[in-house]
Structures are given as structure tokens and as C-alpha cells.
């Protein structure tokens, strides 16, 4: 379990992380979602003690990270897959981690196999690695101590679709066996397919958090109909907020209510569903609008 309690980090007058509190629970994958520069990485660095928080505390399994006697055995960390000495081979980097943690030597080859780096690739220097290979090596470094907690910053960056699928299965299985996973991403879809809980951050502040199911519900309902105008006026009469975008209508009302309204209005629906990806994305853009570099297209 990871507990972040009222963490604030200032750089001079700039506040990178502003009073952030959340919990990543055991047995669940917690997705840390936010646009670039929102404060995800800074928060993660505060958790593992690389950055000192201006105020607030962060604990892993109830203890401050720096108080862990052999952190690699309890927390697997991948903050930046490219932050390695370019002149070392992949196998050597993994060996250094194995030796720091005092693990048996055969763990290195085991982990190379787990992350599908061939012996040939492992013998190459990291400067010749693609980003995807570096991510795999970084994940191997995080997993080698068989920790209970994983903290991964943008681990899917540079992975091909098969690699993303592989990582999703790996993290899912890991959480199902009682592990805690905190992973960040600026890509909503990635978080959506993998996370149980979502913490959304924008401009250093938490803008929304909860289980994925709750957040999806909060995203409302999407409905398509042949006569959208009639349907919208029916909603307006009932005082239910509804917005039309393109050929569909979005509302915060539950699908059952939307169905009843349509029936009363005598409008034939062509589609009725809980807003999933699109809804959450809209919420993501909306919630983080203030911190977006590119304004959402009107």
C-alpha cells in the first residue's frame, strides 16, 4: 500500500505538486493520470525519496521509503527507463541491481526471460537500445527483487501494442496476487484498460479520484437517436442537462432514465450506453483544461 498525505512541492514560487493525497491499495492497480507536467513524476519521486517534499508525507507499506532496509525487495521502481549509464550492457545493469539487493545470480537470467530480452540483446550496450527495450529492462530491474509494491512512471512509453498488452497482463496478474501497483500515464486509454482505481492530476492538484467504475459512471450516458432535437428538448423540459455533440447526445443521467425520457418523447434510439472511453476522455480534458498545453478544439 502506498499512502500519499498532503504532499506539496514548491520550486521557488512555482508549485509543482499542491496538497496531493491519495492511497494506492493492495491488490489493485492505481492509475495516476494527468497531462505532461501535471506533477505525476514529481509526486512519484517524492514517494521514493529522490525529491524532498516541501510539506506532507508519503509512506510505502506504512513506512517512509528511506526507512526501508533493502527497498528493492519491497518496492520495485521504474521512474525513467533512459536514466542508465549508456555504456553498460542490459545484463550488467540488471546484475548491479541483483547484487545491491543480494539476490541469487540466476535471478538476472530469469528476469531477462520474464521481460523477453534475448541473451543477445542483453549483451548489447544500453545506448543501442530502443525505448521499448529500455522499458523492458527497467521493468526487469523493478521486478527482480520480487517486491510487493510497484511504482512505474509511464512504463508503456515506447512499447509496441504487443508489449503494452504484455505489460497489462503482467501488472494485472501482479495485483491479483496481492501486489500494489501505482503507474502513471498521460494516455487515458492506457490507464483505462489497466487500472482499478484512477487518480487524476492537473496543474499539481488532484482533480478527481476514485474507482474506475465510479469515474466511468460519473462520465454519464451517451445516446444516439434519429431525432436528437426532440430528445434534447425533452431533457430540457425535465431540467436534465444534456449536450449534443455531433450525432450523439451526452448527459449525466443514468441510461435507464434516458431510456424512459426517450420513450415518453416517442423518440426511437439508435444507441444507448454508458459513456466509457469517450466520456472519461472528455472528463479528463475537461478536468485538466486549465493545465492543458493545447486547448481542446472547440
Amino acid at each position: 500500500m502506498i499512502t500519499v498525505d498532503a504532499v506539496t512541492k514548491n520550486y521557488g514560487a512555482f508549485t509543482a505538486v499542491d496538497d496531493v493525497s491519495f492511497t494506492a491499495k493492495t491488490g489493485r492497480v492505481t492509475g495516476f493520470l494527468g497531462p505532461n507536467g501535471a506533477g505525476k513524476s514529481t509526486t512519484m519521486r517524492v514517494i521514493v525519496g529522490l525529491t524532498r517534499a516541501t510539506s506532507g508525507t508519503a509512506t510505502v507499506s506504512g513506512r517512509r521509503y528511506v526507512d526501508l532496509p533493502n527497498p528493492g525487495l519491497e518496492v520495485g521502481v521504474l521512474l525513467d527507463a533512459s536514466a542508465q549509464h549508456a555504456g553498460r550492457t542490459g545484463r550488467e545493469i540488471l546484475t548491479l541491481a541483483q547484487q545491491f539487493m543480494g539476490l541469487p545470480r540466476n535471478r538476472v537470467e530469469e528476469m531477462l526471460e520474464v521481460v523477453s530480452l534475448t541473451p543477445n540483446e542483453a549483451s548489447r550496450r544500453v545506448r543501442d537500445y530502443s525505448l521499448g527495450m529500455r522499458q523492458r529492462l527497467g521493468i526487469a530491474t523493478a521486478l527482480i527483487g520480487d517486491p510487493e509494491v510497484l511504482i512505474l512512471d509511464e512504463p508503456a512509453n515506447g512499447l509496441d501494442p504487443a508489449g503494452i498488452r504484455w505489460m497489462r497482463d503482467l501488472l494485472r496478474g501482479y495485483a491479483d496476487r496481492g501486489g500494489t501497483v501505482l503507474l502513471s500515464s498521460h494516455l487515458l486509454h492506457e490507464i483505462e484498460v489497466i487500472a482499478d482505481d484512477i487518480v487524476m492530476i492537473g496543474n499539481g492538484r488532484i482533480v478527481s479520484q476514485g474507482t474506475k467504475t465510479d469515474l466511468l459512471h460519473a462520465a454519464g450516458t451517451v445516446v444516439r437517436a434519429e431525432d436528437l432535437t426532440t430528445l434534447q428538448s425533452a431533457f430540457e423540459e425535465l431540467g436534465i442537462a444534456a449536450t449534443t455533440s455531433g450525432d450523439c447526445l451526452r448527459t449525466d443521467a443514468a441510461p435507464a432514465l434516458v431510456g424512459k425520457v426517450a420513450l415518453q418523447a416517442g423518440v426511437a434510439l439508435t444507441e444507448l450506453r454508458v459513456a466509457d472511453s469517450a466520456g472519461l476522455e472528455e472528463m479528463f480534458l475537461e478536468l485538466t483544461a486549465a493545465s492543458q498545453r493545447d486547448g481542446a478544439p472547440a
Binding site: G49, L50, R52, A83, Q84, G87, I93, M101, E148, L170
Partner: protein, 267 residues
């Protein structure tokens, strides 16, 4: 997926023991050799020691073909390469950004720095011992080739001074690595420290009378020179010179650097 499907994760694991400093030191020592640049830098000690020895045999007058001439010649490349080894051992964590991993695996940064210090001094001492051996071979070979008498004019005490002097040079590099944490800048400043500063002090001593008496208490390199003169046991005052200048130029900046290292953000 064999490694990951074995049993549940969680609190059934036995108590985790702290990582011993010895193990951190061993890994840090390994890190000094496991890149091509690191390996060749250390190998260059042997290479330059051989070159310096060959130079003495070729160019030194016959009556100066003594053991002290050989190891004094080897001292020049050592004074450049040993500090660089120590600088790169420290700055690599920042310049190459591997510190992101190192300092998450060993969150107490002063332990990593201590391990690096021990590993660097170990490399330094072993290098000096190698230099002694290479110098001795040079002395044997040189006198045999020129047919001059074999002279071993360095006492054990003087050998120990020589080791200490080289370790001090290495520690200057180490200190700059800790203080500056960037490879190129630290190396550049080392050259200022080692070549420019003593020149300025020398000029100052030559032109300003009152500074002449002060120089041994201010100029670290001047104070250390008694370690390399091979003139028997040093006096208490000479030791005091080394202690005072060492405090100013080595201990204080190292303490400042350690303060930075433990507080600075690792990115």
C-alpha cells in the same frame, strides 16, 4: 513468467535485512570497471606508468637512473588519472543519470558516497602498488641496459608518503565530483585546482614577501610536495602544513558537497 507465478506476494517474507556497506562498496567497485570508458581509464594508469618508465630509461642521464626517478616520473600521469577515476565514479550517477536507480535502491545517499570513496581509494592504492612494481621493473631493466649501478634509494616510509600523496590527489578529485556532480566541469576545475592555483600561489610567493612564509599553510600542493621529495621522514611542521591545507582545500569543500548530495533532487 516462471519467476512471477511462484506463490503470492506479501507479508510472508522474512524480515528484510539492511544492505551492508561492504556489499554497496563491492557493487560500486564493479561499476568503476563495467563500462569501456571506466575500464580504459583504469587501464591507462598501467599504460601511462609503462610509458613514463620507458621515458626515464630513454631520456634520463645515467647517474639519475634510480628508483626514485622512476616513481617520481610515474607520479605525473597518476596525479591526473587517479582524480579523474574518482570524479567519474561520483559524477556518473548524475551525468549518466544512473543515480535514479542507485539512490532508489540505496536511499541513504551518504552510504553510496562512502562506498564510492572506499572503492576509489582501493583502486588508487592498488594503482600505486602497480606503479611501484612497474617502476621497479624499469629500474632493473634501465640499469641493465645502460650498465649502471642498481640504486634503490626509496625507503619504506617514503613509499608510504608516496601512497598517501596519490590518495590525497584522488580524494581531491572525489571531493570535486561530490561538490560539482557534473563530469566535465569537475574535471576542468580539477585542472584549475592542480595546475593553475599552485602557479598563482608560486607567483604570489615570489613577489609578495609576507606570503612566502604563509604559502606552506595555504597552498595544498606545495604542502604535499614534501610527500614526493624522497628526503627521509617528514617534520611535524610539514605534517601540520598538510593537515591545515587539507582542511581548507579538501575537508571543508567535501563537507559542503556532501550537504548538497544528501539534499539535492535526483532527476
Amino acid at each position: 513468467m516462471t519467476a512471477l507465478t511462484a506463490g503470492n506476494l506479501g507479508p510472508q517474507r522474512g524480515a528484510v535485512r539492511p544492505i551492508p556497506l561492504m556489499r554497496v562498496t563491492q557493487v560500486e567497485l564493479r561499476k568503476m570497471f563495467d563500462t569501456r570508458s571506466g575500464f580504459w581509464l583504469i587501464a591507462s594508469i598501467v599504460i601511462t606508468a609503462v610509458l613514463a618508465t620507458a621515458g626515464v630509461i630513454l631520456f634520463a642521464p645515467n647517474d639519475e637512473l634510480t628508483y626514485s626517478t622512476f616513481i617520481a616520473a610515474i607520479r605525473f600521469p597518476m596525479a591526473v588519472i587517479l582524480p579523474m577515476i574518482a570524479i567519474l565514479a561520483v559524477t556518473g550517477e548524475w551525468t549518466q543519470r544512473s543515480g535514479l536507480t542507485t539512490f532508489t535502491l540505496i536511499p541513504h545517499r551518504h552510504r553510496v558516497i562512502a562506498a564510492k570513496a572506499i572503492a576509489s581509494v582501493t583502486v588508487g592504492v592498488v594503482s600505486v602498488l602497480l606503479a611501484f612494481a612497474i617502476g621497479a621493473l624499469g629500474n632493473l631493466l634501465g640499469t641493465a641496459v645502460t650498465g649502471t649501478a642498481l640504486v634503490w634509494n626509496v625507503t619504506l616510509t617514503e613509499c608510504l608518503y608516496y601512497v598517501l600523496g596519490n590518495v590525497l590527489s584522488l580524494l581531491i578529485g572525489f571531493m570535486l565530483g561530490v561538490l560539482i556532480r557534473a563530469s566535465a566541469a569537475a574535471i576542468a576545475i580539477y585542472f584549475v585546482y592542480w595546475f593553475v592555483l599552485p602557479t598563482i600561489f608560486g607567483l604570489l610567493a615570489a613577489s609578495v614577501t609576507w606570503f612566502r612564509d604563509l604559502q606552506p599553510w595555504v597552498d595544498f600542493q606545495y604542502a604535499q610536495s614534501s610527500l614526493f621529495t624522497f628526503e627521509g621522514a617528514m617534520t611535524g611542521e610539514q605534517w601540520a602544513n598538510i593537515a591545515v591545507t587539507g582542511l581548507i582545500w579538501l575537508v571543508v569543500p567535501l563537507a559542503v558537497g556532501l550537504g548538497f548530495v544528501t539534499r539535492a533532487e535526483v532527476k
